[in-house]
């Protein structure tokens, strides 16, 4: 048996025809060990391919190229039993905790449906016990929530209930796609805290898909930053966020609005006029048209991932071709600081 829970090997996902379609994920390899459980954050702007990876892992659609192994077996070569097991072991929690609830049913219904569909309990008492266990794992009590209607709970509670529902199936892995983007800051903490608890106490790994770098920084073990389907930077969440190396990641981190009225965004930025460069035939670094440090070769060659720091901290940028210190960009095209064109 493999020591890896997941092994993603050279996976590409292209929507539309292979040669002209939209590359949502390009030549991507990564493995997720069985132990210790980790929260792996995947971040990037919308359309960068972050949800695509989640969908591929959930087996919602097959990769265009490459393969995804789960415990050593290609998930697209599963037999029926393996498929059923997989759908229990890999669960999903999505963005809108309200949308998935039927407003006319009490919360109890969510759990009753899982118990029924997966035949988890042989009688009502056992079912109630399993429900209680799952709710306790996310810090809730059955008596407080089961008889309520969805609107009577806070967004944070609704989202934790979806996580409780997922944990009833004793999953090994949960894909959490933007689980906190709909709730306000005061409730976010409780959801993120539950994710960390499930990781530490139950050994469940997470793929935390988000565009919010600050929460990724708070809870992520590892982070992958995607730009147009390619990994721009990868490493420990703390390293990547406190010492970003890729020019795109630097821009991204600079743009996160600081919760401090006296600390405004540095300068003004503009978006590029054309948002091209998204087909497989496009040459060069994908960030090149927006990059303030671009060099002539960036237009024609695609950078690999170079080591930029300890623990697998890597960035896909030619600046680091010769090691972690950025090479002097004597040939770089200079940009006006006050109005950098990104």
């Amino acid at each position: 048996m493999s020591d890896n829970l997941f092994e993603i090997r050279n996976v590409s996902k292209i929507y539309g025809p292979e040669d002209t379609g939209l590359v949502a994920l390009s030549e991507y390899s990564f493995s997720i060990p069985k132990e210790p459980a980790k929260i792996i954050t995947i971040a990037g702007e919308s359309g960068s391919g972050k949800s695509t990876l989640g969908e591929l892992l959930l087996r919602s659609s097959p990769p265009t190229r490459g393969e995804i192994l789960f415990e050593g077996v290609d998930i697209w070569k599963f037999n029926d039993q393996q498929k059923r097991d997989y759908h229990r072991h890999v669960q999903a929690v999505f963005q809108d905790p309200f949308g998935v609830y039927n407003p006319f049913y009490r919360i109890r219904h969510v759990f009753d449906m899982v118990l029924k569909n997966y035949r988890l309990a042989s009688n009502a008492t056992q079912g109630r016990e399993l429900t209680e266990e799952a709710l306790n794992a996310v810090g809730l009590r059955g008596d407080d929530v089961l008889e309520k209607y969805p609107h009577q709970l806070s967004g944070g509670q609704r989202q934790r209930i979806m996580i409780a529902r997922a944990t009833m199936l004793k999953p090994k892995f949960i894909v959490a796609d933007e689980p906190v983007s709909m709730v306000d800051a005061s409730l976010r903490a409780s959801i993120l805290d539950v994710m960390m608890k499930l990781r530490d106490d139950f050994g469940i790994s997470f793929l935390y898909v988000t565009h919010d770098l600050s929460t990724a920084y708070q809870i992520g073990d590892q982070i992958l930053l995607l730009y147009q389907g390619t990994v721009a930077e990868h490493g420990n969440a703390v390293d990547v966020i406190t010492q970003p190396k890729h020019p795109y990641v630097q821009l991204l981190i600079d743009s996160v609005p600081k919760p401090d009225p006296d600390n405004p965004w540095p300068g003004e930025i503009e978006l590029p006029a054309e948002e091209a460069l998204r087909t497989p035939s496009a040459k060069g670094c994908r960030f090149c048209p927006r990059c303030p440090q671009r060099m002539p070769r960036c237009e024609t060659e695609s950078p690999e991932r170079y080591d930029v720091g300890p623990d697998g901290h890597q960035a896909a940028c030619f600046l680091y071709e010769n090691g972690p210190m950025p090479s002097k960009t004597k040939e770089s095209m200079s940009v006006d600081e006050s109005n950098e064109h990104v």
């Binding site: 702007e45 919308s46 309200f98 810090g139 407080d144 609107h151 009577q152 709970l153 806070s154 967004g155 944070g156 509670q157 709909m182 709730v183 306000d184 800051a185 005061s186 409730l187 976010r188 903490a189 409780s190 993120l192 805290d193 565009h211 770098l213 600050s214 929460t215 920084y217 708070q218 703390v238 966020i241 406190t242 821009l251 991204l252 981190i253 743009s255 996160v256 609005p257 600081k258 919760p259 401090d260 009225p261 006296d262 405004p264 965004w265 003004e268 930025i269 503009e270 978006l271 006029a273 948002e275 990104v342």
Partner: protein, 333 residues
């Protein structure tokens, strides 16, 4: 006393939604003012009534909702007394809206420029083609959109461009006030920064006032001049954004500001959950008391009034009491 620069004054606005189990008081006695050329932020969790309150101001509340009482004074007149025709003229011309999910509210079958032309011609009648085109181009330039999008359809634009197209439309008739409902929430940080910059630029150049609804405290800190905090249909605090961040006066504002995650310090998250009440059956007294870490007996007895505890900082919480000199101090509990 009314501030001379006040352009919009909302007083004790109540908007309720009828449901089979009783009314939801989604906006329950909300009062605030908006000054000329400022951006007022309105924050609160999902369902707290931000869109309902501004819907009351714009009079866009439809059944099962209704405006129960209150006044909305715009440029000296109570617009809640306007008949439908007068209100129709006021919308876009004086008060315009960038609706929640605006990018998806654009008509997919019409080009962006036709949609803007439509707004202009509906209010001002047929326009000479050349002048109209020039006017739309000017709007595009204002919001930083390239001319080449003139004949494009919404699906041909990125999210940030669609959002800026909505801003262009909202300023087409030179309004006094623009309500931007979560105008940047669906966007990525970089694009969000560009759209926010656009709003700041419009504010500076056209001297319009914005009510900016959102829930990202970081963004609010960057963009707004004053901030109002809403919870379950009520306004709990309103203050200059600097004061709000430096010394939040309401326990809920305090929690909101404390729980903003930052990129500078990895720290244990502060968890505050508490119970959310059924909106049809709010608690007696203070609306926040079921989640408040400082709730006292008086909090279940009466709803705290909005009082000015520091200059221009208004808060509704029983923790604040007048001392013998008549100034407000916060009790320690």
């Amino acid at each position: 006393m009314r501030n001379p620069e006040t352009i919009l004054e909302v007083d004790d606005l109540r908007v309720y939604y009828a449901t089979p189990q009783g009314d939801v008081k989604a906006c329950d006695g909300v009062s605030f003012d908006l000054r000329s050329g400022e951006i007022l932020g309105l924050v609160g969790e999902s369902g707290s009534g931000k869109s309902t309150a501004t819907g009351g101001v714009l009079r866009t509340i439809g059944s099962p909702g209704r405006i129960v009482s209150g006044t909305v004074t715009l440029d000296g007149e109570d617009i809640l007394k306007y008949d439908d025709e007068k209100m129709r003229q006021t919308r876009w011309q004086k008060l315009s809206l960038i609706p929640q999910g605006a990018m998806n509210s654009l008509n997919p079958t019409m080009t962006i420029s036709d949609q803007i032309a439509d707004v202009i011609e509906t209010h001002e009648g047929r326009q000479p083609a050349d002048a109209l085109r020039e006017r739309i181009m000017t709007l595009f330039r204002r919001v930083g959109l390239p001319e080449r999008i003139y004949s494009m359809y919404p699906h041909e634009l990125s999210g940030g461009m669609k959002q800026r197209a909505c801003i262009a439309m909202s300023i087409a008739l030179d309004p006094l006030v623009i309500v931007a409902d979560e105008a940047t929430s669906a966007l990525d940080v970089v694009v969000q920064r560009v759209v926010a910059q656009t709003m700041l630029k419009i504010k500076r150049e056209l001297n319009v006032s914005f009510i900016m609804i959102g829930h990202d405290m970081g963004l609010m800190a960057q963009v707004v001049d004053r901030l109002a905090v809403m919870y379950s249909g009520q306004l709990l605090e309103i203050a200059a954004v600097r004061d709000m961040f430096a010394r939040p006066a309401h326990p809920y504002s305090e929690i909101l500001i404390e729980s903003v995650p930052t990129l500078t310090e990895r720290k244990p998250m502060k968890i505050n959950e508490g119970i959310t009440h059924d909106p049809r059956n709010p608690p007696s007294g203070c609306i926040f008391r079921l989640r408040c870490p400082h709730a006292m007996p008086v909090c279940s007895e009466s709803r705290p009034d909005m009082v000015e505890v520091h200059p221009e900082q208004l808060v509704a919480c029983h923790l604040w009491k007048k001392d013998e000199n008549g100034s407000y101090v916060r009790q320690s509990v």
